[in-house]
């Protein structure tokens, strides 16, 4: 089941990063800019997920205190 979750995450990340990084018509090789973008995209998406989850937790906590 954990493997299924991993696979699903890969498909989701791949779709998000493909849409963000591969904007031109496909050519005979991934150019280095696109390759760098794809690598960074995965890492920044994880960073962003963590930042967003943290902020959201703070919001929930603040609301439950009021």
């Amino acid at each position: 089941q954990q493997k299924a979750h991993f696979q699903q995450q890969i498909h989701r990340l791949n779709e998000i990063c493909w849409d963000k990084c591969v904007t031109d018509k496909p050519s005979s090789k991934l150019d280095s800019r696109t390759e760098g973008c794809l690598n960074n995209c995965v890492d920044r998406f994880i960073d962003a997920s963590l930042a967003i989850t943290q902020r959201f937790a703070q919001l929930i906590q603040k609301q439950s205190m009021n």
Partner: protein, 55 residues
């Protein structure tokens, strides 16, 4: 809250991280935080409007 977080993450990542670099810079992090706040605002408005309407 899992579905909310998932949608929020996709929408805010796409809005705030236009060209992913080697780390999140300050403006991206600030944008992500504001985006969470506004997404929750929007969610609260949607919930209230929908709740009122279908009563």
């Amino acid at each position: 809250a899992h579905e909310l977080l998932k949608k929020m993450t996709e929408k805010c990542f796409n809005k705030c991280v236009v060209r992913p670099g080697t780390s999140l810079d300050n403006s991206e992090t600030k944008c992500l935080n504001l985006c969470v706040d506004r997404f929750v605002d929007a969610y609260n408005i949607t919930t209230k409007s929908y709740g009122t309407r279908i009563q």
